[in-house]
């Protein structure tokens, strides 16, 4: 009897296990089917899915109660892996919710491949905030066009012509599926107190004074300064290559190449910056610095998983204007009040040419449960009032304007900057419709004038935005775009290999190899394409 009952138990256990396994298999299949259905345009969803969507609508976003003051939640995917916040919390998001009736359920990208996978599986959230795959997302099967939504829901928003033209340039059907934030013409900066986001080299002013303030007006000068720093402070890293975006760009700006992907030649054609002799000079100089022990192989430039250094562990640091110095100086002051970092005055040869069409855009996906609320929300985020709120805080509470129209922050705000709690307390990271001028003015108001007084006026003098070059770059799945992508993937590893080469000769040979392989990948065709497109597009932007 005992054996029989134990057999029975075993049988039940087996049945349970198998049922569990089958349920797992089938539920996975179910997810796949749903994803595929959505990716096919979201038109073929099953009745139960529709019912679920409707239920979600009424439960989560309020359905018809949209205008009744009830807070609606929209999910958003932020395609910036480095994003410093992952939730819509803080005084500013709270105020945004109060004024728009929208709160955001945030997911920040884990890696740069996530968005592509989400698009192909049809699992996009309500909103996508990105600067990549703009042409892929500008597709009626994947996202709503802004123009369609604006007319369907009678939203009063006259998108500036240039920004509208830029957005339309990404789609095949000539409609705008997003509006990129942070767009500004060269002339917009004339009345600013700050500078656009360009490469900046900051340095430890206290140590610089300690070594007698030697000249810093050429790469050779910088090399000599680093030698002096290393001699005085052997444990210090003279040059930190912090992230992957700004390192070589900082030096390209200083020697006059600028941040333009394609540079106009004397005959009117455009060539990729990697062919420029001054770029080669920068790479060979960085190789010399590395060989002298002035750059650490642990830097983030070489390895994503780098641990980084303590704030006081390096002398020069590559970064961009506006971003790094305020937080770093707060950290430094906490270690020793005399420690301070200044932005370096650009060389006489410096040139800050950029080709900016804006930065990131919000896409409203076809999965969006409330497109009306979404487009109204985006429109509001582009209003000057909301741009100020999202980038500078609440007027009258967090800041007031001085007589020149520049912000002056409250003591509480400044205390939170110094305590490095500003992001947590206020959170200025949801500038979805942000203005680059407001951002820059807001950020410079948090800095002490000494930190930037040598650098910013010079940068403003040497800055120009040539948006037509960026607009002329290939898009879609064209041969030129594929070739350009391959060249892009070549550059970063080669830069690292050149910098780490064991001799200047090896570095030069690797540089030549970079050019050869770029040509094999189709660089000349891309340059010819860009030259032709610039001729077509330039008049539209001038």
């Amino acid at each position: 009897m005992k054996t029989k009952s134990s057999e029975k138990r075993k049988r039940w256990l087996a049945i349970l296990l198998v049922t569990g396994l089958l349920a797992g298999v089938l539920s996975a299949c179910g997810n796949g089917t749903r994803a595929e259905t959505s990716s096919a345009g979201g038109q073929n969803g099953s009745a139960s899915e529709e019912a679920q969507k409707t239920e979600q609508k009424s439960g989560e976003t309020g359905g018809d109660e949209a205008d009744s003051g009830e807070v609606k939640t929209l999910s958003i995917f932020i395609d910036h892996t480095w994003y410093p916040v992952d939730s819509f919390t803080g005084a500013i998001p709270d105020e945004i919710t109060k004024r728009t009736g929208i709160t955001l359920d945030v997911t920040v990208a884990v890696d740069t491949n996530q968005l592509g996978t989400m698009i192909s599986s049809g699992e996009l959230p309500d909103l996508v905030y990105t600067q990549r795959l703009l042409d892929t997302l500008s597709n009626p099967n994947i996202c709503y066009s802004y123009e369609d939504l604006l007319s369907e829901y009678n939203v009063d928003w006259e998108i500036p012509a240039k920004q509208l033209g830029i957005a339309r340039g990404y789609s095949q059907d000539g409609k705008a599926y997003t509006v990129l934030n942070m767009f500004a013409d060269t002339s917009d900066w004339e009345n600013s107190n700050s500078v656009p986001m360009v490469g900046s080299l900051s340095y430890r002013r206290d140590i610089y004074e300690e070594i007698g303030c030697p000249p810093m007006n050429s790469l050779d000068d910088l090399y000599a300064v680093m030698g002096q720093v290393k001699e005085k402070h052997p444990d210090m890293v003279p040059l930190q290559l912090l992230g992957q975006n700004w390192n070589t760009e900082v030096f390209k700006d200083l020697v006059g190449v600028g941040a333009l992907r394609y540079i106009e030649q004397e005959d009117g054609s455009y060539q990729c910056y990697i062919r420029d002799e001054r770029y080669k000079e920068v790479l060979l100089w960085l190789n010399k610095c590395y060989a002298s022990g002035y750059i650490s192989p642990d830097d983030q430039f070489f390895s994503d998983a780098s641990q980084g250094f303590n704030a006081d562990g390096y002398f020069f640091s590559c970064g961009c204007t506006q971003n790094g110095i305020t937080g770093t100086n707060a950290e430094l002051a906490a270690i020793d009040p005399s420690y301070v970092r200044w932005e370096m005055k650009p060389f006489d040869t410096a040139y800050y040419g950029q080709s900016s069409l804006g930065w990131s855009g919000v896409f409203i996906s076809k999965n969006c449960k409330d497109p009306e609320a979404a487009i109204k929300f985006v429109q509001k985020m582009f209003t000057p009032e909301m741009q100020q709120l999202s980038q500078m805080g609440r007027e009258g509470i967090d800041f007031t304007f001085d007589d020149k129209g520049f912000p002056v922050y409250s003591d509480e705000w400044m205390a939170s900057v110094k305590a490095d709690t500003n992001v947590k307390d206020y959170n200025t990271w949801f500038y979805l419709g942000g203005s680059t001028i407001i951002e820059a003015d807001g950020r410079v108001a948090q800095m002490e004038e000494d930190w930037y007084k040598d650098a910013y006026p010079e940068i403003r003098k040497r800055y120009e935005n040539l948006p037509w070059i960026e607009a002329a770059r290939p898009i879609g799945e064209t041969d030129e775009k594929i070739a350009e992508d391959k060249v892009t993937e070549l550059i970063m590893p080669y830069e690292q290999r050149i910098i780490q080469a064991s001799s200047q000769e090896e570095a030069a040979a690797l540089y030549d190899e970079l050019i050869t392989n770029a040509e094999k990948s189709g660089l000349a065709d891309v340059e010819a394409y860009v030259t032709q497109r610039v001729a077509e597009l330039m008049p539209m932007y001038q």
Binding site: A28, N113, G116, F302, Q496, Q500
Partner: protein
């Protein structure tokens, strides 16, 4: 009549084995859904497929034949990708196949049950650690001011820290070492279970004939697990380009690779990820994946053929 009888007896046997059969069919269903059904997607390797078209695009995209295969073969770094993939795979294979066998033999010879269990558990636990964590350990131990460099400097072996993580000459040793450390214990379990199946009388008889321990291993244990070794070898050869017994090549190359060592760490799979998937070029990625699968199938058949010729053991 005879056919009917046979049919009946087959169903009768299946009925008797219904519990075991249920597990088999659940496994087969799983295999079908996740391994066979997705194979339909291979069609995109021959089409001008765009992710924006979703599943529908598989049926409607323009047929481009071998365009993506030609693109891959004509790529400037095609040969270096193939070389890096093969070198990484073969180097790992050379170490990750014999080491688990050796570990299984050592564990089998340990007399104390407690020590045996401890050694076995400690050696297979790393298998469950994610490659992300393993790469994090590597960073921690091998960075300029990490434990290894500090130790080497303190004993006077080196003056300047070694760039372990970014030097191209260190990538392969680190990849092989971590693969062995992580997966050796896991595969040793398989060989241990094969050893457990050897008739103990053979050992007793050998002992009585005066065989030493090494001779017993050489003449009884190793021949006893020969067929298991063959099966594992053939299966791992099939997955050679994916990493064989030594974990995922992709995980290692992606996490331990960087610009500094890209000359040796860039393999087919990481290139597919960068140029194919992250740029939304699924058709191109599928074409390269298909090339790799074909090479793997050829490897399985070839190794099976040679194994049959040389040792008489084979998968089929």
């Amino acid at each position: 009549m005879a056919v009917d009888e046979r049919k009946k007896s087959v169903w009768k046997r299946i009925g008797k084995q219904k519990q075991i059969q249920t597990f088999v069919w659940a496994g087969l269903l799983f295999l079908f859904v996740f391994n066979f059904v997705p194979m339909f997607g291979i069609i995109m390797a021959f089409e001008n497929y765009s992710i924006a078209d979703g599943v529908k695009g598989l049926f409607t995209s323009e047929w481009v034949g071998l365009k993506y295969f030609r693109e891959f073969v004509n790529d400037y770094n095609f040969f270096s990708l193939i070389r890096n993939t093969l070198v990484l795979s073969l180097s790992k294979m050379v170490f990750t196949l014999p080491l688990p066998i050796l570990l299984a033999l050592i564990i089998n010879e340990i007399r104390s049950r407690l020590v045996k269990r401890i050694v076995q558990t400690v050696s297979y636990l790393p298998y469950f650690i994610s490659w992300v964590i393993v790469a994090g350990f590597c960073q921690l131990f091998l960075k300029s001011n990490g434990i290894v460099n500090n130790m080497l400097i303190s004993i006077g072996s080196i003056e300047q820290p070694i760039a372990f993580m970014t030097g191209k000459q260190y990538f392969l040793p680190i990849a092989i070492f971590t693969a062995c450390w992580k997966d050796m214990g896991w595969w040793a379990i398989l060989f241990l279970s094969a050893i457990a199946g050897i008739d103990p009388n053979l050992y007793e008889a050998a002992e009585m004939d005066g065989c030493s321990r090494l001779k017993r291993i050489w003449h009884i244990t190793l021949p006893g697990i020969k067929s298991t070794i063959t099966v594992v070898l053939i299966l791992s050869l099939g997955n050679l380009l994916g990493g064989g017994l030594g974990g995922s090549n992709f995980d290692q190359a992606w996490l331990l690779g960087n610009g500094g060592n890209s000359e040796v760490s860039e393999i087919i799979q990481t290139y597919v990820m960068k140029i194919g998937l992250s740029k939304g070029r699924y058709a191109y990625a599928a074409a390269i994946g298909l090339c790799q699968s074909i090479i793997s199938v050829v490897l399985v058949f070839t190794s099976n053929f040679f194994s049959k010729k040389v040792s008489g053991d084979s998968l089929f």
